[in-house]
């Protein structure tokens, strides 16, 4: 994995060096940093850099930790940090009668360790017009460390109906669902606009399992109306699209 990342870094370093004459920074594993223009890269062998003072230095490939382009705003995978992400979006799913399009807002925060993010948060999930308060746990993994980087996220947690009515007798107004669980995954793209701010876009799938109890009405033939308790479950499938910011 480390080798792949280094190759990707080298790849972008060369690409950018072709487009413009900019300084690169070669960071060695021992902490030494060199700044200049890379003139030659032989993977698994050497990197040749012309330093800003004119010297040409040949560095063994094994000694290099990473190479940074000076114009790139990189959140270094080696830099551990806290993060906060807020997203707003839409969930879509095939309801029983029509396509369901529901609003979604989430704010999560947590700790970033290298390419991993682990966090928790809350927000608002709207399902069938009913607002739920989610308790979210998430883990994500970023691919690469460039300005625009893909990542995947695994999310899960509970949802709590903000309109819950324990005396509800109408199943279809969804007020009888007390709480539920959800799990899902997202494919995301993160684009840094500064060292501390990134735009994020996520597309994913999530599954909800809602539970509740209702007092159901039954019209027995020839007898008086009967009221009886019933436990209700809903399994919802949602495709989500979210946009937001990450600090």
């Amino acid at each position: 994995m480390k080798k792949s990342l280094l190759l990707i870094a080298l790849f972008f370093a060369v690409l950018t060096s072709e487009a413009q004459i900019n300084n690169e920074q070669v960071i060695l594993k021992n902490g030494t940093q060199y700044q200049g223009v890379i003139s030659e890269i032989i993977p698994d062998s050497i990197v040749v850099i012309k330093l800003v003072d004119g010297r040409i230095m040949t560095i063994n490939y094994d000694q290099i930790l990473r190479i940074k382009n000076q114009n790139e705003k990189i959140l270094s995978p080696t830099e551990n940090n806290y993060y906060v992400k807020s997203t707003l979006g839409l969930m879509m799913g095939q309801g029983q009668r029509e396509i369901q399009k529901n609003f979604l807002f989430e704010t999560t925060g947590g700790y970033q360790y290298k390419q991993w993010q682990m966090g928790a948060g809350s927000g608002v999930h709207v399902l069938y017009g009913t607002m739920y308060l989610p308790a979210i746990a998430e883990v994500s993994y970023s691919f690469g460390d460039k300005i625009t980087q893909p990542y995947i996220t695994l999310q899960g947690g509970g949802v709590f109906n903000l309109s819950y009515n324990k005396n509800n007798t109408n199943f279809w107004n969804h007020q009888g669902y007390k709480n539920g669980k959800f799990i899902g995954s997202n494919f995301g793209l993160r684009h840094y606009v500064s060292n501390n701010l990134a735009l994020v876009f996520e597309a994913g799938y999530r599954f909800y399992h809602l539970q509740g109890k209702l007092i159901e009405t039954y019209y027995p033939p020839n007898l008086d109306i009967l009221y009886y308790p019933a436990e209700y479950n809903a399994d919802l499938h949602r495709f989500s699209l979210k946009f937001g910011l990450e600090f």
Binding site: V14, E18, Y218, N222, A230, Y232
Partner: protein
Amino acid sequence: MDTCIRRVEQLKKNIMKKTSLYLTIFTFLLISLTACKDKFTKTFQANVPIYQNYEDWRAQTIKFMAPTGIKNPGKIWIKDQYLFINEPFVGVHVFDNSTPANPVNLGFLPVLSTLDIAVHNSILYVDSYTDILTFDISNPHNIEFLCRTTDVFNNNKAQSSLGYNHDLPATNINPDLGVIIGWEQQEVTEEIYYGGIFYDSFELIDVLTINNSGGVNLGGSMASFAIHGDQLYVIQNNQIITFNIQNECIERVNNTWTSNNLETLFVANDHLFVGTTTGMLIYALDDPSNPNLVSEYPHIGSCDPVIVNQNRAYVTLRDGNSCSGTVNQLVVVNIENLSNPYEIKTYEMTNPHGLGMDENTLFLCDGIDGLKVFDASDDLQIDQNLLSHFSNIQAYDVIPYKHTLILSAQEGIYQYDYSDLNNISLLSLIAKN
């Protein structure tokens, strides 16, 4: 340097290929997963039917048996000195009522899933779930099976209530599986579809309901079988089924459909008076095999037994039942012109059920308020002419027959002597066991 750039280009292509592959797989998965429809289920405790398949059920031999006690008397038919008392879902009890003060239990005819009976000449007609059975009663001491006419009724003909828990709903009803011979309680999970929860269509007749509507025929007001000439009329839901009963095996000849939920039948003046939940229908029987609607007297939604005496019809409406009624009334209807029945007067009652009439004397079962006997010669002052009131019984239906009043009540079948209306006396009680 060239080597390096080629290597980087190759690397770039590989990355693009892999990215495209991952995106394609991811998109495919998303589309697949979101194609799943939302699913709603509910889990609850319910009454679930116990079935017996039709073959086994019809294969059972029906033989007249020694007398047994009556647990839940239902519809009654009087034939000469004999009483035929239907016990819902179980069979028919036969009594010799030559001496009403001492009715003699002759025997029992076990017929499963029965609710109604009728007698014509020496033939007893008994329904049995979807079928109608005929029996030879020329010797009431040894009744013999004659014929079974199958699939007369729809599958949702009344079901047994054995084991039914009235605090729970019923579900998993599938008539194709056979006759419901009982119920058990189970936890059931059902899928729910938008637009409402659709319950299985069936008609549950249970012991309690039968007690509350147990009719006395031949002048009774709550029967759903009626005979006129060689025709047997049977109501089911919103249709009157006409059978030719000239032969041992009855033959369906016609179905008359209505938009009303039919309840009771009463034949008088060559017309068929049909009590429904929304009104009284009057059919002419000029062509007996094809009842022809003459008129309708509408009323507020309620159960409404009806009887006819000369040019008056008496209808009772009551609440607290499956007919969603909200009133408790006796309605006197003028039927001099059968094409234009109209209300003469309405009287408030407690919880009126069946009623019977002998000349101008009206016998009315007022539920928990017992039996009331009125002089009904003045249509406008019936309530002012209460002759007797038996408030200590819970009366459901009544038939006055040759000065003997046969009364279906909570305790069983009472018989009263009403030859002296000012001194109606109890003759006997066929008590429930």
